[in-house]
């Protein structure tokens, strides 16, 4: 059994053995080898896919280095967002302030690249030395005539979730700044998909086929001009746990645009999402086309997916994700091919999320909040799981244990959303789980 820090006891739940009082949305215990990141990380990942914007990291070099082109969020247009721009603050800047450097950097970059907008990320020490980032942004915005948006993403000011919020606050300043002429009644914004491996394109294509206009994609393959007129859409369709929910709420309040939360992972959830959107418009044409789309796609992909069921039936998984919302879909998706989830957790889930996870899981399933490698490894071994579904830091750990791995995070290389994505996902799970390498390895803590 895993040793557990006493401070963490309430962040671990074993279904069927204890009364449920999951403690979550807490700061990580100091000294924990947490898999969590910081506020800046949250802001940077969600704004990064706005491809025609300039992204300038205001701080010492590290924050820019570590986020330079690491995420496969694809662009159909400019590639400017994949460059790394930093004010590279030095000791003298920390003493005398970095505002001048920030101003000069912005002017130079805007003159050179003529971006549609610019985002300036304030990192930890910018918050400490007290640079007036807002004022510099406002000045440059006036001089250059493009939106220059401060993102208050000082790393210590909360968790990754607060970073999402800071990003939404910056985005919201763009919303409503352009005309909405020509936008159809049956129109939506796609929120919370980041076009990893082209996933936004896939989803966008579904909506096109349904006869629903997509005004903007926030932020996958995102465009400044589209975001500026996104308040012209009739509905915000929000994917992903928390990242864009805050923006949707602000748009509801100010522009009275309703929103709905969906997931595009798995056949079941994708169909439900598309149908929910279609029904929102109460348009028989759209509903008919959507049903047709669901039928077509399911007919193509479901038999392909189910081919794997015989091989995968009874296999067990650990699922550890950033936001808990994704875990719901993954549990359902794995269930479709006869697999169960024995260990499930998230970095940033809330009470409701964990209550729902508990409902969905079998007896004995272990549910974790803000977990660490010791727990993840030990619980995975205890439950003898066959595959680990997680992010970059978990892959080598799973392999060391002799457990297969599938990246369901930034480093996925195949689109995993929608119908085709579900097939890709199951294929990936199957290929890793059935790899001949496991014949040669020690597995699940047992010597060969």
């Amino acid at each position: 059994m895993a040793e557990i820090l006493t401070q963490r006891e309430k962040q671990i739940f074993r279904k069927g053995t204890e009364c449920f009082d999951m403690s979550c949305e807490k700061k990580s215990a100091a000294g924990s080898v947490s898999q969590r990141a910081c506020v800046f990380c949250g802001s940077r990942v969600v704004l990064y896919p706005i491809v025609d914007a300039l992204h300038l990291v205001h701080g010492p070099i590290g924050c820019a280095s570590y986020t330079w082109d690491i995420r496969g969020a694809l662009s159909s247009g400019r590639q400017l967002y994949r460059m790394s721009f930093s004010t590279d603050l030095q000791e003298e800047d920390v003493v005398f302030g970095g505002e001048k450097k920030l101003y000069r950097s912005l002017i130079e970059l805007i003159d050179r690249y003529k971006p549609k907008s610019a985002f300036v990320y304030a990192t930890c020490i910018v918050g400490i030395i007290g640079d007036d980032v807002d004022a510099v942004c406002e000045r440059v915005s006036k001089e250059k005539g493009i939106p220059v948006l401060p993102v208050h993403s000082e790393g210590f000011k909360g968790t990754k979730k607060d970073g999402y919020k800071a990003a939404c606050v910056a985005l919201f300043k763009l919303v409503g700044t352009a005309g909405i002429g020509g936008i159809e009644k049956n129109s939506i914004n796609i929120l919370g998909d980041f076009n990893i491996a082209g996933e936004t394109w896939m989803i966008r294509d579904y909506y096109n086929r349904m006869g629903v206009e997509v005004v903007s994609t926030i932020t996958g393959d995102g465009r400044t001009d589209d975001i500026c007129r996104s308040h012209g859409a009739s509905l915000n369709v929000v994917q992903c746990s928390g990242s864009m929910l805050y923006l949707a709420k602000m748009m509801k309040e100010k522009y009275d645009i309703p929103f709905m939360r969906v997931s595009y992972f798995g056949v079941e959830d994708t169909s439900e999402a598309l149908l929910k959107v279609a029904e929102f418009f109460k348009d028989t044409g759209i509903i008919a086309k959507t049903k047709e789309l669901i039928r077509e796609e399911t007919e193509i992909y479901l038999p392909e997916i189910l081919k794997y069921r015989d091989k995968l039936r009874g296999k067990k998984a650990t699922v550890y994700v950033g936001g808990a919302f994704k875990a719901f879909s993954l549990i359902k998706a794995l269930d479709m091919v006869g697999m169960s989830v024995s260990v499930v957790g998230s970095q940033t889930g809330n009470q409701d999320d964990y209550a729902r996870l508990r409902e969905m899981c079998d007896e004995g399933t272990i549910i974790l909040d803000d977990s660490n490698p010791v727990e993840l490894a030990n619980f995975s071994l205890e439950k003898k799981v066959d595959i680990f579904i997680g992010g970059v830091k978990e892959r080598p750990m799973a392999y060391k244990l002799g457990i297969g791995f599938c990246d369901h995070n930034h480093q996925r290389k195949e689109a995993l959303t929608g119908y085709k994505g579900m097939l890709n996902f199951i294929k990936e799970v199957h290929s890793s789980l059935m790899s001949p390498v496991w014949r040669f390895t020690s597995r699940n803590g047992n010597a060969l």
Partner: protein
């Protein structure tokens, strides 16, 4: 297209880094600390720093990277991080049970003025450090220097804390390793073993970051320099420091603390640098170079004679970390190639001087830049103005290589898109053979690719 955002026209930049050839100090401290046995690196700052460093190291080494963080909050940033660090030390020893916690700072904890030395002392006084366990630290403000500076600072911290002089010298030599792959550290031990010399290598990430698959997740794999070895460095006869920017300061500290004389040599990458390393090692250990090493050298020279006709006069652009660049530049000159552009984000006058020394006779017009604004954007601009035949550097060179259609040899840190660099050495004579083979394959592949049907030849 990608990176068609680089203009040919070069303008002086005052305030901006574009596509850096460096990263920040703390990750270097973390990598150095991973080379100690039973050590948990600890990042005293926000959670994100630690997560980024672990991710970056994981992507490069393809191994689980364990490190803890003080998880700074807004409160800690106002009132200081003492409570966080003391609690962290307590928690780490309670649950993760390392022998050593190696604390490094971040820009945040440095700027708010945390006195980490004093906080670690307080943790000891409060009984948070169990008997026989150790907390060491170093300062790594991210706004000074680069990841190499951080690596160097952690080495200094290790010596400050562990090295002791008993007054009785031991028949052993310290080898202070620069930031190289675990495979390189393994190779250095192999070479010393072949020469029959007892060494203490530190740090030593072999058997930690190239650990075998075992079916368990070992928090502290069997490798790494042990505590008794670290303590004994103060009694060693001599220290050989490999790579000036990463290790010279630590060797100096050890000399002034424990009177261990030292010599700093270039990283033993390539023929000449390995020669000097072997000679230095044989001199300080007072032994003759064994036949097997002479033969290994002979094989390298033999390979160079076979290959030299293809290398002649090829223009090469290099970027990355200073100690690697010094050694690689010399290797290229030995191969009759022309290292024309050399860039590192790590600043250091010693670096420029050493490179100029190597190139003064052969490529006096080479462009060399280090420190501020020495980034890949500038390198790309240079290449646009006058192209090269080969680029050598970490994975971030792939954009330029593709954009300009130039063969590209991945070498250095980080390598994010290939596997193998942490398993095969580039140091020593056999390491040099591997570099040569890679360079030649790239040049030949290119020739084949570009050859017309008539000139496409089987025998090259």
């Amino acid at each position: 297209m990608l990176l068609r955002h680089t203009s040919k026209e070069i303008k002086e930049r005052k305030a901006l880094s574009v596509n850096p050839a460096k990263t920040c100090q703390p990750i270097g401290a973390m990598y150095a600390a991973l080379g100690l046995h039973g050590c948990m690196p600890h990042s005293h700052g926000s959670q994100g720093c630690c997560a980024y460093h672990r991710s970056a190291l994981t992507r490069h080494y393809k191994e689980p990277i364990m490190a803890a963080t003080s998880s700074f909050t807004e409160g800690a940033s106002v009132f200081g991080g003492q409570a966080n660090l003391v609690q962290a030390i307590n928690n780490i020893f309670t649950i993760y049970k390392p022998d050593i916690i190696a604390v490094h700072t971040t820009c945040l904890s440095e700027t708010i003025g945390d006195d980490v030395n004093q906080i670690c002392q307080k943790a000891r006084e409060d009984g948070k450090v169990p008997e026989g366990k150790h907390v060491i630290h170093c300062n790594t403000p991210s706004y000074v220097g680069s990841h190499i500076t951080g690596y160097s600072n952690m080495l200094k911290g290790i010596i400050k804390y562990f090295s002791k002089s008993t007054g009785v010298k031991k028949d052993q030599i310290n080898i202070i390793s620069g930031w190289v792959e675990p495979s390189d550290m393994r190779e250095i031990k192999r070479i010393a073993g072949q020469m029959g010399i007892k060494i203490v290598l530190f740090p030593d990430t072999s058997d930690i970051l190239d650990a075998p698959q075992t079916g368990v997740h070992a928090f502290y794999p069997k490798g790494g320099t042990t505590i008794p070895e670290l303590i004994s460095t103060g009694d060693s006869k001599f220290s050989l420091a490999l790579g000036k920017l990463a290790t010279d300061a630590a060797a100096k500290d050890l000399d002034s603390k424990c009177k261990v004389k030292f010599k700093t040599v270039d990283l033993p990458i390539g023929l000449s640098a390995t020669d000097r390393f072997i000679v230095a090692l044989s001199n300080v250990a007072d032994i003759d170079v064994p036949e097997c090493i002479t033969e290994e050298r002979g094989r390298l020279v033999d390979i160079i004679t076979d290959m030299q006709q293809y290398f002649y006069n090829k223009r090469v652009a290099l970027f990355g970390d200073p100690d690697h660049l010094v050694a690689l530049t010399e290797l290229l000159v030995d191969l009759d190639m022309r290292p024309v552009y050399i860039i590192t984000g790590t600043s250091g006058k010693a670096f420029n001087k050493r490179i100029e020394e190597i190139l003064s006779d052969t490529v006096p017009d080479a462009k060399i830049k280090s420190g501020a604004n020495a980034d890949l954007f500038l390198l790309h601009q240079w290449i646009k103005n006058e192209p090269v035949d080969l680029i050598i550097g970490n994975s971030y060179g792939k954009h330029i290589a593709r954009d300009e259609d130039i063969p590209f040899l991945r070498m250095g840190f980080p390598i994010l898109d290939r596997i193998g660099h942490s398993y095969f050495p580039i140091v020593g004579y056999s390491g040099a053979m591997r570099i040569l083979e890679k360079i030649l394959s790239l040049l030949m592949d290119r020739q084949d690719r570009d050859a017309s049907e008539e000139s496409f030849e089987l025998v090259m």
